[in-house]
Symmetry: D3
Subunit: 294 residues, 6 copies
């Protein structure tokens, strides 16, 4: 997978990690690591304890580096890589205290974002059994982590819906205050020329209005698969506008929706309800490290 | 429930909301809301679409207020309140465009944090069927949201494990580099007098060492319920040290663990894997608002 | 003009003003205002000293309010309003020292952003003499002021090109590394479904490739008006893709470019080279204020 | 030119670049660069497309470095260097995607700040034909960029007026509330001993009052050159106080003002109305890079 | 005392308080206040437990307001006011939990800054017994609190030396690298026209050089009072340049230095070694509050 | 001394230094250093001018590194090291201008934090003559510097009381609103299980209540040594709860309090009233540097 597309912006990585480390360390630092012999070195592996898809590597790398540049890392599985239970994701070596201080922050990023990538991949795989439909995310992201979670969705094989309210127009029913869909699309074209205009509909007559109005995408909200199939037929083969399904699609139903021939299915759960992927740090206990009570 | 204990610090609320709104609005603002008539007013309700427990109200209130102080809110169900499907959580009224611009950010906080509270409550309820054990969280929180998520755990009836590495000592096996549990506890007492010292163990002989060393808490990691019951017996009735179970406890097993008589069960999933609670904003469509195409 | 479309996001206003005030006041505060009698009150007007278009009112209001909530303001001319020399833009009244302390920061925002709006309006007016073409901005904005300047362009009657690298795809020659335009557009569609895809071209054969590839917009770069007219003819009447002219368009040439029938003309100068609009604060010198040596 | 005097503070460079990159990249990153082959390398030159004076190099360097430390740069023309059309300002080499992602942010700083330096130089050169007068800036800077723009003025050969309200006292007419110039200067000396005290005047009798009061500088505001010459004569040869001309001085009139023998001329336009210097990034297209469709 | 001169900039107050509250409250908030009945109200007084001078009131007010806008305050003694042991500085009333949560942060600001003001006043008073000399601060301030501490010095009757490295030129021996004092002053005048130029000397021949060079101030460093008296005589009656004594002046020696006729004495201890003024919050225990164990 | 225990969190160091440098350098930078020849190099030593204990080295190192990575440093005396007058704490070498620009910020951190460590050590030494009592700090820290000052206390041999309101429960008289000590402790145990609970008392009967209630620590406030001795006797030999003395303990009285056998003495003065340790930077004046006027 092209790493250029699956990593979050460097600015988002840097500030998210600064914030997370401050949150875990201040004011007194790592009380427990302060009990360690300062000269103790360690090496170890970040290991996946469950199958999934990796995301968040840049955050984990940044977390270890910010705590101590003396920690050396070899990252083996880049964002987007599938992992099996037991797979080594990265190797690291450095001062024991620093490694333990950074561990939880690094794993929190990695676990949460890999969780998003893993759930995304599950939807993508399920949809594939049904058709060509792409899975994508929504704006239902964890506050403050939008950039990181949207990258994780890409790492999982999903696409991104708009990044925020500033990226494109999405006309919902609440926006249609005293104006028709046609008027809404025309207003959007006039004010925001050249920009994606999507219209949310929940009835076929609205769909026809949106098509006529020339929307780029139509979001069919909360329809059953059969109704979506009707909508796809109504839209026709030209794939214009793109048809996007939204609202309550689950892993159980996604294949049925994909089978309708809809172009896109957006799933809020990818980011608001993905369980973390279980990843851990296993330290080596070779002769040079001599840990344990023996 | 005492609101003083379930709300996050005001500083955390303010900065998290500032960040989340900037993330959703910049650079161009809400493209779609810009199409609305500026004089349009609206009123509506935040409604729960599923049963659960509310948390994050302070963030939602702050989000609407930061977008537009002209939005009036009446918050009906404070953090910690149970909700049934269909319950109205809050009422609001104000400029339609402002309400729609703030809606998603407010709901993202409310949905995520209520999700944490709801899952916590499920564990608390399940544990109650087993015994007196308290449920609590871990440091496996979403990066940057520690303060908010830990408050949501309290709203769900859970207790908080340490807030960060600075709050208390937790000696894990990786910390026991060339020193015994007794030495570790003694070092912690010497360096951090008067502060909670917890020791993680995975065998009964280690538990005995920790008891003898005078730990305040012992974290029994990844033990089966039967082994935990042995550990409880070993510890005795004096409830000193407190016995905390950790590692892979699920909703299915939590009652069995609670039945062992352990004092505490810490569950990472409360914060790293809680699905969002489904909440939505329903706008009223009375005569003064006149929305819709009818 | 709809104020919802011409104001920048509240988050951008707040932080830009905080930054600007800190920059002007710290560490010692306003040395000169500290010489004033603290009880002195003043009233006055913000007046335009030249014709133009107002933008930045929200920043000016925020600057006075952050310095001293006791300053009362009546804003008369909202963003997007034309002004003649001598027009009163706003009235204010409050503690003299506070008004003088905030004056320069407020006017710096107002002057710079009104300058952007005024230059935009000049291009818009010039283009109107030539045709229906819309004027828009680029990413050549002043670092840190993107959101404010793009709003000022809208206040001047312009439209916004993409807000940043995250909003849409713009394939330039430097991106066509070992791939054709067709491949580039296809890659963009695959990776970023439903999102605007624009292609920069500087020859007619490239334009044809871009049309065939199905680009949403084509940016014709550095072409003479005659060549642009050929491109418009090539594109045909269906206005798909939109044709956007870019590169070195000036106030002198914009009408000629507009006359070609191109849909859009983007002008970096709107934001990188707009002279400030000259605005000043005139204090009243009525009997209640008694300033001056007379 | 001494680079120590023409570079902005490192703290200002770092934070301005962080802000500008975040503004251009978040939330999704550079959509278009994500289409590139990740292994593609490129080299190129930053070239001036117009004559001028360079400023902002430290910001440009920082922008490339923050995006990707693997980009190697050789900066050829430091701040303060004159450039002709076609001159190479810097050479760089590194990953193609990183270079394209950082390009606009780096050039926005460089173009804006070189524009300020170039306009400053034009005023300095024009003044030189008239006399010994120094050109300097005002507080009419772009909000948030004060430190960078003031450094650019120095790079252009200008001097800096006060950096902000905290640096020195400038008594204007609005400050003379019920007190004379003499009383104002005395109050300033008493409260802020040892600090520059400047008085703004618009009549010769005020000038005499300011001289008698012992002001360090007198700002003669909005006077015609002839009147300034009278003021210079009134002040006498001792060059105490320094005489500073302000208000509406243009490139057309600056020589006449300089010919009066005034010590300083402050020009708001240097920072609020300087057009950007046109600079571009030209990528090499040698065999190792193989770009283009040929 | 003119409050305009003794308060710090509003921007510095706001951000310092935000930072201090976050530092004291996150992640879990005030654990102890969470045990209180939420409806409990309280009233009380901030009382000085020692004689001194008040500073920092704006920070204290801001701290209570940020924690809870429902806290009502009546501030009785503004910055610069002398206090005796037992004096009431402010009255407040509001939710008990909020008051206790904000108490320490508010008092930390008030105690530290009043300590600075109090020590400043002691030096000012001691100097007054010796002569007309003004006391002022240095750049030896507590990192991050420069603006607040310099305001506290003013509240104590002291004057401010330069606020930072950007405000004026101070040529020390380490700066005289291969250039004379005359050359140094000339270079400063050329590069920073109209700005204060101070020269540090430790011998009379250097003083003569500095006078000849036209320095605005001369800092005589680490001289005994008798030598300072010689320097004052050398400088003469015209009070130009101003003579400033620095280096190891104590409360015991300041009168002797002041008696020399030096214009200014700068004392690093005002800000780097001032003990806090002891202030406390006494809650009322009237019938409406009913606290205590009875 | 174990460096892991005496250094502040890296996050706190980085942000405090960024803030302090910005405060000293913006907007114009170091005016005086700009007069230096840019090629001038220098070397020198940070030397203690008084006996004491070092703290803050990480901040000083960070300050020099942020200003100019070309400054090479060899830090000789880590935090916690005792110094005599004249001892060299660190050696550095690099560009003269950069060294002088960073000098004051670096020394401000080092002087303030070493002052805290030195005063702590004085209390620790004085207490040692009386008994085994540990000295510790309070929350009476300088706003914004909590993390750094608490680390300095550790460097001085002291222990840390709670880092903030979030770390443990401290029930004071103001918290006992309509509830007894027993009820307060029980409430704390219920809400914050496993966390340190301390109770403040000022009478022996309250002490007995606190012991019975099972507090982990009892803070005896403002008692005379004889009364503390009674309290220690009351508590008994089991050292549970720990007895902590607080309130007005001075260097003169600390030995007497330590002799009572109390476990801990907390002293607000360690952080709110520690005079700075006098440290300076002495530049070498060897042949390669050639400074001075000779």
């Amino acid at each position: 997978m092209n790493p250029l597309g699956v990593h979050p912006p460097v600015t988002a990585v840097r500030t998210a990690v600064e914030r997370a480390l401050a949150e875990d360390l201040e004011p007194l630092g790592d009380l427990t690591a302060a009990l360690l012999p300062p000269e103790a070195m360690a090496s170890g592996s970040i290991v996946s304890r469950a199958p999934g898809v990796i995301a968040g590597s840049r955050c984990a790398i940044e977390a270890f580096a910010q705590v101590d540049p003396a920690i050396e890392m070899t990252w083996l599985l880049d964002d987007g890589s599938p992992v099996a239970r037991g797979d080594v994701v990265a190797r690291l070596r450095g001062p024991l205290a620093s490694i333990l201080t950074a561990e939880r922050t690094a794993l929190n990023f990695l676990g949460h974002l890999s969780g998003v990538a893993t759930l995304t991949r599950a939807y993508v795989d399920a949809a594939t059994t049904g058709g060509q439909t792409r899975i994508r995310d929504t704006r239902k992201t964890t506050p403050g982590l939008r950039a990181l979670e949207k990258a994780a969705v890409r790492a999982g094989g999903g696409a991104n819906h708009r990044g925020n309210l500033s990226e494109w127009v999405l006309v919902k029913d609440n926006h249609l205050v005293g104006m028709s869909i046609a008027e809404g699309v025309a207003a959007a074209r006039a004010r925001w020329p050249g920009r994606t205009v999507e219209v949310e509909v929940d009835r076929l007559d609205q769909l026809r209005q949106a098509i006529t109005a020339g929307a780029d995408l139509v979001l069919v909200d909360n329809m059953a698969p059969d109704d979506v199939a009707l909508a796809v037929a109504e839209r026709g083969d030209a794939r214009s506008p793109l048809l996007e399904v939204s609202g309550g699609v689950t892993l159980a139903t996604v294949a049925a929706y994909a089978a309708t021939g809809a172009d896109l299915i957006s799933v809020g759960a990818l980011t608001h309800s993905a369980p973390a992927l279980d990843l851990g740090l296993d330290l080596d206990s070779g002769p040079g490290v001599d840990r344990g009570e023996a």
